[in-house]
């Protein structure tokens, strides 16, 4: 009887801890801080920056590569480690071109993911591929998550379906592992979205630590969104 009570109390404490943890990691519970400037930067975490980027296909890849190029001083510094997720060979080839163009010297690791959803695909086929993507991406996301441990890190996402699955895994690992720091998911909504969010945007609005839009109209419509002008 006593033992059962101890187990119950233990489970209750664990439940409470994870509930508090959930509240702590879900960004919409936190005060939005768009005004954090480099001048106010209080670097608690030292070391080399590790960045995970996901290249979708076509326009998404183009925007992500321009983002990397525009902010290469920070994101592509020689001491950084860059984890590049991709779901088609064309995206990887496009990244190789950027690497050549910018004479990239940082460490790069590639991760191939299954596409979560093809353009114009039916709901059923989308569901099947999303389940496959969930399983495939779980281990890869866990591997990247463990590599982030106690290092400065960023997860940069910008819209293809697979990035929702990845964000979900990163947040889940952050929640389960009590000693893991914030996953630092930065979602940059596509420049093509002016008045409404994409499906990925609607989902990641609740998960991303920093949710960035590129048109003022969207920021007005979405209170959590941050706006810095056209970034790509």
């Amino acid at each position: 009887m006593m033992r059962t009570t101890h187990i119950s109390i233990g489970l209750l404490v664990l439940y409470a801890i994870y509930l508090v943890r959930l509240i702590c990691i879900l960004p919409f519970f936190l005060k939005q801080r768009q005004d954090d400037s480099p001048l106010r930067l209080n670097s608690k975490r030292k070391g080399q920056l590790k960045v995970f980027v996901f290249l979708g296909s076509g326009g998404h890849t183009g925007e992500m590569l321009r983002l990397l190029e525009n902010y290469s001083d920070l994101l592509l510094a020689n001491s950084n480690t860059l984890f590049v997720g991709y779901s088609d060979t064309q995206s990887r080839a496009a990244f190789a071109q950027l690497a050549k163009k910018t004479d990239l010297k940082c460490r790069i690791e590639f991760y191939e993911f299954i596409k979560a959803r093809e353009v114009n695909s039916s709901y059923f086929s989308s569901f099947v591929t999303i389940v496959r993507t969930l399983v495939d991406s779980c281990f890869k996301a866990l591997s990247i998550s463990l590599r982030f441990y106690s290092s400065p890190h960023l997860v940069l996402l910008n819209g293809p379906g697979t990035c929702c699955v990845l964000a979900l895994w990163f947040k889940l690992f952050e929640w389960v592992n009590l000693f893991q720091s914030r996953s630092n998911i930065v979602y940059v909504e596509s420049l093509a979205r002016i008045t409404s969010l994409s499906l990925s945007g609607k989902l990641l609005y609740w998960l991303a630590d920093s949710f960035v839009v590129q048109w003022k109209e969207l920021q007005i419509a979405k209170p959590r969104a941050e706006y810095y002008g056209i970034l790509v």
Binding site: D36, S37, R66, R182
Partner: protein, 197 residues
């Protein structure tokens, strides 16, 4: 060699735009405007159709005036010249050096309303006509085209030949506003804050 570049994007082809730019009235207007070359980046899985549209008595197959390497394409370009004059049409499915092609060869660009293609031309300060593909699912292209046109950065129209001709006429007399490239220190600061705090 005065050149018009038409880009349909890497993923989905844009048959309406392609048909309009290789139509006789449009080519006639280009020639009267001093253009001597038309480069069409027609997109995925459209090579046979594109070549088929040019396989008639008006065109002769010729060697491409720009090398495959410079065009940044793996496949041999479709290259034709107009029988009665020095007007060349080059067709490529995809270019890995599209920015180079725009910078070095294009005097005017007609693009689908994909943000990547738009920004490539604007950043290279090339006059740009945006053509909206209204066949696409969830058409954000119209919004994008309207937005950029409202800032005076581009001319926007549909893929109909008369609309394209109207924009071509406008491009002779009107001057577009230069696009201001943006790089946000505040955004970089936000990234640093997230990563290091």
């Amino acid at each position: 060699m005065k050149t018009l570049l038409v880009t349909c994007g890497a993923t989905v082809s844009f048959p309406k735009l392609i048909c309009s730019v290789i139509s006789a009235p449009f080519i006639g207007e280009l020639k009267s405007d001093g253009f001597e070359r038309l480069i069409v980046q027609f997109g995925k899985d459209y090579r046979e159709e594109f070549a088929g549209k040019l396989d008639n008595e008006l065109f002769i197959e010729v060697e491409c005036s720009i090398s495959t390497a410079e065009l940044g394409t793996v496949n041999t370009p479709v290259s034709r010249t107009l029988m009665a004059s020095h007007f060349e049409i080059i067709g490529i499915d995809f270019s890995s050096k599209i920015q180079h092609v725009i910078k070095e060869h294009a005097d005017l660009v007609i693009s689908h309303a994909g943000t990547g293609s738009i920004l490539d031309s604007l950043r290279l300060a090339k006059p740009l006509i945006i053509c909206v593909n209204d066949d696409l699912m969830n058409n954000h292209q119209q919004q994008i085209a309207d937005k950029f046109e409202s800032y005076g950065y581009v001319w926007a129209c549909s893929a109909k030949p008369k609309d394209l001709l109207r924009c071509l006429t406008r491009s002779r007399s009107e001057v577009l506003k230069p696009f201001q490239a943006t790089r946000s220190d505040a955004f970089e600061g936000r990234l640093k804050f997230l990563a290091f705090s």
